[in-house]
C-alpha cells in the first residue's frame, strides 16, 4: 500500500470524532483534610481484626459484616482476578470506603445492581494519610450473576482504585438494598505494579480498612489483614 493511503488512514485515526471528556476538579481540600483526619482516627480506633470468620457490628440498628472468603486462597494467573477475598454485607448502607493501609494492595469493589460507584473521578481523592493522589490501577473484571468473570464497564460497575485511595459506593437517589458487595484485592509491589501469583516471591502484609456509612450518617469501621506469600493470599488474623 502506498504512503498516501497510510497517511490518510493515520490522519483519520488521530483525528477521530470523539465526544469531549468532562473535566471535574478535585474535591475541596477541606474535605480531604477532614477525610485524612477521619481516617487517622479510624485507624487508631480499629480494633476488630477479621479473618476467616465474620466480624459483626458492635451496636445499634445499623450493622454490617466483613467476611473473609476463606483462610487462604491459592492463586493462579487466571484466578487472580477472580479472587474475592472479602465480602461486605449489611443493611442501610449508604457509602463504603476502603483502602490499603500499607499500600501493598489495589482494591476495587465489585458492584451490584443496587449500587452505583460514585463519580468516575472519585478515586482521584487524596488518600488518607498520603499525598499520592495519582490513579494507578484499573481492575476491569467483575463477576456476573453466574459467577463468570467478565470485563467491567468501569464507569458504572467497578471503581478504580489506588492502594492509597478510597472508593465510595453511593447512590444519591435511592437507598440501596443490596446486601452483598465483594471486595477485590490485588497485590502490588513497592513500585505499585501488580504482582501476579508466580511473583508472590516477596511476602507482603497488608491491612484493608473498610468504613461503612449508613443512611443515618453513622459510620462503622472494620479492618482485615492479608498476607501475600508464595502463590497464596492468606487472610490473617494477626494485625
Amino acid at each position: 500500500m502506498n504512503n498516501d493511503k497510510f497517511d490518510k488512514m493515520m490522519s483519520s485515526y488521530c483525528n477521530r470524532e470523539v465526544e469531549t471528556f468532562e473535566f471535574s476538579e478535585k474535591k475541596n481540600p477541606i474535605k480531604r483534610i477532614s477525610l485524612i483526619a477521619a481516617a487517622l482516627v479510624l485507624v487508631f480506633l480499629s480494633v476488630i481484626i477479621l479473618s476467616p470468620g465474620k466480624a459483626t457490628s458492635d451496636s445499634g440498628e445499623n450493622s454490617f459484616t466483613l467476611t473473609a472468603s476463606a483462610a487462604e486462597v491459592e492463586c493462579s494467573v487466571e484466578e487472580i482476578f477472580n479472587a474475592t477475598p472479602f465480602i461486605i454485607e449489611g443493611e442501610n448502607i449508604q457509602k463504603i470506603c476502603a483502602y490499603s493501609k500499607d499500600g501493598h494492595t489495589s482494591i476495587a469493589f465489585g458492584a451490584t445492581k443496587n449500587y452505583n460507584v460514585t463519580d468516575k473521578y472519585q478515586y482521584k481523592n487524596s488518600p488518607p494519610g498520603s499525598d499520592v493522589p495519582d490513579p494507578l490501577f484499573v481492575i476491569p473484571y467483575i463477576k456476573d450473576e453466574n459467577g463468570k468473570l467478565i470485563k467491567a464497564n468501569l464507569s458504572t460497575e467497578i471503581a478504580r482504585q489506588t492502594p492509597y485511595t478510597y472508593v465510595e459506593i453511593v447512590d444519591e437517589n435511592k437507598k440501596p438494598d443490596s446486601k452483598h458487595i465483594p471486595i477485590i484485592c490485588m497485590p502490588i509491589n513497592e513500585n505499585k505494579e501488580y504482582l501476579l501469583p508466580e511473583k508472590f516471591s516477596t511476602k507482603y502484609n497488608d491491612t484493608i480498612v473498610v468504613e461503612v456509612t449508613f443512611a443515618n450518617g453513622e459510620k462503622q469501621t472494620k479492618t482485615a489483614t492479608i498476607v501475600y506469600e508464595g502463590s497464596k493470599m492468606k487472610f490473617d488474623t494477626t494485625p
Partner: protein, 164 residues
C-alpha cells in the same frame, strides 16, 4: 484560577480529548489522562508563557503525564477493546471511513503495541501536522531524535499493516 480555565477547557477540551484518545488504548485510560493533564495544567499555569501557543504547552503536559503513567497504560495494551460496544464506538468515531473496518482495528492494535516514545510522536504528527521542530519542542527531545522516531514509528506501522 477557575474562570480562565473554563475558557481553556472549552477551547482546548476537544483537542486534548482527541490526543488522549489516540495515545491510550482504551477510553478509560484516555479519560484518566485527560483529567490528570488538566489538573497539572491548572497547577502549573503560572509557568505558562502567554506568548506561546497554549495548545502546545498543554500537549507537552499531556505527553509528560502519559509518560509518568506508562506502567499503568502499558499493562493493559493486550486488552485491546474491552467490549464489542467499545470497538463499535471506536469505528463510529473514524471521520473518513474510506477503508475496511478491519484495517482500522488492525491499526488500533498496532498503535497499542507501539513503544510509547514512537506512539507519542506519530500521534502528534498526524494529529496536528506539526513540524519536526514543533514536535521536538513538545516532546522535549532533539530534532534529530524526533526525525528518527517518526521514521521508525511509521516504518513499524507500515510493516504491521502491510503498507509497504
Amino acid at each position: 484560577m477557575k474562570k480562565p480555565f473554563d475558557k481553556y477547557i472549552a477551547q482546548y477540551g476537544l483537542s486534548l480529548t482527541k490526543l488522549c484518545s489516540s495515545l491510550c488504548s482504551n477510553r478509560y485510560d484516555a479519560e484518566d489522562l485527560y483529567q490528570s493533564t488538566w489538573e497539572k495544567a491548572m497547577k502549573k499555569i503560572k509557568l505558562y508563557d502567554a506568548d506561546k501557543p497554549f495548545e502546545k504547552w498543554l500537549f507537552s503536559i499531556c505527553i509528560n503525564t502519559y509518560r509518568d503513567n506508562l506502567k499503568r497504560f502499558d499493562r493493559k495494551k493486550v486488552l485491546k477493546f474491552s467490549s464489542d460496544e467499545e470497538q463499535q464506538r471506536f469505528l463510529s468515531s473514524i471521520p473518513d471511513f474510506s477503508f475496511d473496518k478491519d484495517e482500522y482495528i488492525a491499526l488500533h492494535e498496532a498503535m497499542s503495541k507501539l513503544p510509547s516514545d514512537l506512539k507519542e510522536i506519530i500521534v502528534l504528527y498526524y494529529f496536528r501536522d506539526y513540524t519536526l521542530k514543533e514536535l521536538s519542542e513538545i516532546l522535549g527531545i532533539p530534532e534529530g531524535t524526533a526525525k528518527s522516531r517518526l521514521y521508525k514509528s511509521r516504518d513499524i506501522l507500515r510493516k504491521e499493516l502491510n503498507y509497504e
